[in-house]
C-alpha cells in the first residue's frame, strides 16, 4: 500500500525557525552571549575593461571561519560558450548553484531568441533572482563578457542591485584591490598592461586581506577568444619543511583484528586511477 504524503513540498527557503530564533536570540543576549553571525567570506575579485575586451581576476583561497578550507579553489566560473564569465565571492554553495542555473538559463534564452547571449541579459536574470530571495542568497558577483554591444562589466550585490562600470572589485579584499585600480587604471589599455594591473590588484588583496590568499587566476575575454589562465601568478610560495614526518609501518597500534571472508565471485573488473597529486 502506498503512503502518500499529504504535505506538498514547498521549494525555496524554509522560514519555520525564524520565530524560535528570535526568542533564542533574546534569551542569549540576556545572558550576555550572542547568536552566531553569518560571515562575509574572504575573497578578492576584480574586473576591468581594456582595449579588446574584459579581464576578470580572482584569488584562490576559500575560508571557513578564519581557517583556510581550500588553498586553490576556482572562483571564476564559465557561463556561456562565447563570452560571459562570472566571478563569485560569498557562500560557496550559493555560488555553485547560481552558476549552474545561469548557465542553463542563458543557453535556453539564447535558443529562444535565436541570438547569441548578451552580458546585460545574464546580469538582469541574476539580479532578478537575487532580489527575489531578498538577500538570503549570499552571493555578490562580477559578470564580465563581450557581446554585440562590446565589452561590458557588471557587479551585482546579494540584494539585487547592480553597477555597470569600467573597473570593479568585490569581496573582503575589495578595498585593497580598488586602490590599485584607482591609481593605475586608464581606458583602452593594451592586453599585457591590463593583465599586469589586474594581477597587481588581486595580489594587493592577497597580501593585505586575511580572507584572500594563495594564487591569482585570470580570465581574458575578447570577442574572439576566452583565455582562462588558472594559476596565472603565484605570489606566495609554500614554506619547505625540513624534518621528515613519515611513519614506519607498525607505528599505529592495532587493537583488535576481525577477518570476515565474503564468498563472492568476480564478475567484472575495471581500474580507475586515483589522482594522488
Amino acid at each position: 500500500m502506498l503512503n502518500i504524503s499529504t504535505k506538498t513540498p514547498t521549494g525555496g527557503f524554509s522560514f519555520e525557525n525564524t520565530r524560535r530564533n528570535a526568542v533564542l536570540e533574546a534569551n542569549l543576549s540576556e545572558k550576555g552571549y550572542s547568536a552566531p553571525n553569518a560571515r562575509k567570506t574572504g575573497t578578492t575579485i576584480a574586473g576591468l575593461i581594456f582595449k579588446d575586451g574584459v579581464i576578470l581576476g580572482a584569488d584562490t583561497r576559500a575560508t571557513d571561519d578564519m581557517v583556510v578550507a581550500d588553498k586553490n579553489c576556482m572562483k571564476i566560473h564559465y557561463i556561456s560558450l562565447s563570452e560571459t564569465f562570472f566571478t563569485l565571492p560569498g557562500v560557496a554553495a550559493d555560488a555553485d548553484v547560481t552558476t549552474q542555473m545561469m548557465s542553463s538559463n542563458v543557453e535556453l534564452h539564447s535558443l529562444s531568441t535565436g541570438r547569441p547571449p548578451l552580458v546585460a541579459m545574464v546580469t538582469r536574470q541574476l539580479k532578478q533572482m537575487l532580489f527575489r530571495y531578498q538577500g538570503h542568497i549570499g552571493s555578490s558577483l562580477i559578470v564580465g563578457g563581450v557581446d554585440v554591444n562590446g565589452p561590458q562589466l557588471y557587479s551585482i550585490y546579494p540584494h539585487g542591485s547592480y553597477d555597470k562600470l569600467p573597473f570593479l572589485t568585490m569581496g573582503s579584499g575589495a578595498a585593497s584591490a580598488i586602490s590599485v585600480f584607482e591609481d593605475r587604471y586608464k581606458p583602452n589599455m593594451e592586453l599585457e598592461e591590463a593583465k599586469q594591473l589586474v594581477r597587481d590588484a588581486i595580489t594587493a588583496g592577497i597580501f593585505c586581506d586575511l580572507g584572500s590568499g594563495s594564487n591569482v587566476d585570470l580570465c581574458v575575454i575578447t570577442d574572439k577568444t576566452v583565455d582562462y589562465l588558472r594559476g596565472y601568478d603565484q605570489p606566495v610560495q609554500k614554506g619547505m619543511r625540513g624534518g621528515t614526518y613519515r611513519y614506519k609501518p607498525g607505528t599505529t597500534a592495532v587493537l583488535t583484528k576481525t577477518v570476515t571472508p565474503l564468498p563472492l565471485d568476480v564478475v567484472d573488473e575495471s581500474v580507475q586511477v586515483m589522482d594522488t597529486e
Binding site: F15, T18, R19, R20, N21, A22, V23, E25, A26, G42, R61, T63, M66, V67, V68, K71, Y133, Q134, H136, S172, G173, I206, F207, C208, D209, L210, G211, S212, G213, S214, P235, V236, Q237, K238, G239, M240, R241, G242, G243, Y245, Y247, K248, G250, T251, T252, A253
Partner: protein
C-alpha cells in the same frame, strides 16, 4: 511572503514598525589581534616561538610584531590575544621583576615568575587580561621548563604547549612528535635542540598554510645556559 528574523521582536511576537530613535551600541573593551605562541622544554634548553603578525578583523596592523618578550637571561614569555593587554601585562611583569630584584638582591627564577603571573592575572578575575601566556625558561637545576596559563591565571608546568589562534592546529602535532602519543614501536629519544628548532619551524610553516592569523615571520627565542639567542624565519605573507 518572505519573513526574516528581524521582523520578530523579543518575545517572538511581530515587531511594530516605527522609528526607535538613537540606539546605544555596547562598547567592547577587547579586540582580538591574532598570533600564535609555542614553547618547548628540553633537557638543558627551552624554546619560545611566536609568529610576528598583528591583525584585527580582516586587516593586518603589522608584519613585524613579535609576541615573545625577554624577561631575564633564563626566561622568555610569549603573550597572544588582545595586544593592548599583552603590552600592559608585560610592562607590569617587568616592573615587578625590578622590584623583586631590588628587594631580594637576586633575579626571579622561572618558577617564581610563573607563580607571580598567576596572582597578577587572578587579581583581574572579573575584568580579565585577554592574554594567553606561555612562559619558557630554565629552572633552578638548569633543565628546560614551560608554564602555560589561561587568561585568569590557572597554570601548570608542561614539556611543550601551543597557545593563540593556531594552538588547536599545533598542539596535536606536538603531542605526537614530542610526546610520542598514539605511536607504537618508536624509540623515545629525548629531544635535541636542533630537532626541536626544526620541529618548531615546520609546525609554524604548516600553521601559516591554514590559519589566516598566523604568518609573515617566525621568531624563535632559544634559552640555554649561555643566555637567550634569537632566530627569525620568514613565513607566508598572504
Amino acid at each position: 511572503m518572505m519573513m526574516s528574523a528581524q521582523a520578530y521582536g523579543d518575545k517572538g511576537k511581530m515587531k511594530e514598525y516605527h522609528y526607535t530613535g538613537p540606539v546605544e551600541h555596547k562598547f567592547s573593551p577587547y579586540a582580538f589581534n591574532g598570533g600564535t605562541v609555542l614553547a618547548v622544554a628540553g633537557e638543558d634548553f627551552a624554546l619560545v616561538a611566536s609568529d610576528t603578525r598583528l591583525s584585527e578583523g580582516y586587516s593586518i596592523h603589522s608584519r613585524d610584531s613579535p609576541k615573545c618578550y625577554k624577561l631575564t637571561d633564563t626566561t622568555v614569555i610569549g603573550c597572544s590575544g588582545f595586544h593592548g593587554d599583552c603590552l600592559t601585562l608585560t610592562k607590569i611583569i617587568e616592573a615587578r621583576l625590578k622590584m623583586y630584584k631590588h628587594s631580594n638582591n637576586k633575579n626571579m627564577t622561572s618558577g617564581a615568575i610563573a607563580a607571580m603571573l598567576s596572582t597578577i592575572l587572578y587579581g583581574r578575575r572579573f575584568f580579565p587580561y585577554y592574554v594567553y601566556n606561555i612562559i619558557g625558561g630554565l629552572d633552578e637545576e638548569g633543565r628546560g621548563a614551560v608554564y602555560s596559563f589561561d587568561p585568569v591565571g590557572s597554570y601548570q608546568r608542561d614539556t611543550y604547549k601551543a597557545g593563540g589562534s593556531a594552538s588547536a592546529m599545533l598542539q596535536p602535532l606536538l603531542d605526537n612528535q614530542i610526546g610520542f602519543k598514539n605511536m607504537e614501536n618508536v624509540e623515545q629519544v629525548p629531544l635535541s635542540l636542533e630537532k626541536a628548532v626544526q620541529l618548531v619551524k615546520d609546525v609554524f610553516i604548516s600553521a601559516a598554510e591554514r590559519d589566516v592569523y598566523t604568518g609573515d615571520a617566525l621568531k624563535i627565542c632559544i634559552i640555554t645556559k649561555e643566555g637567550v639567542r634569537e632566530e627569525i624565519v620568514p613565513l607566508r605573507k598572504d
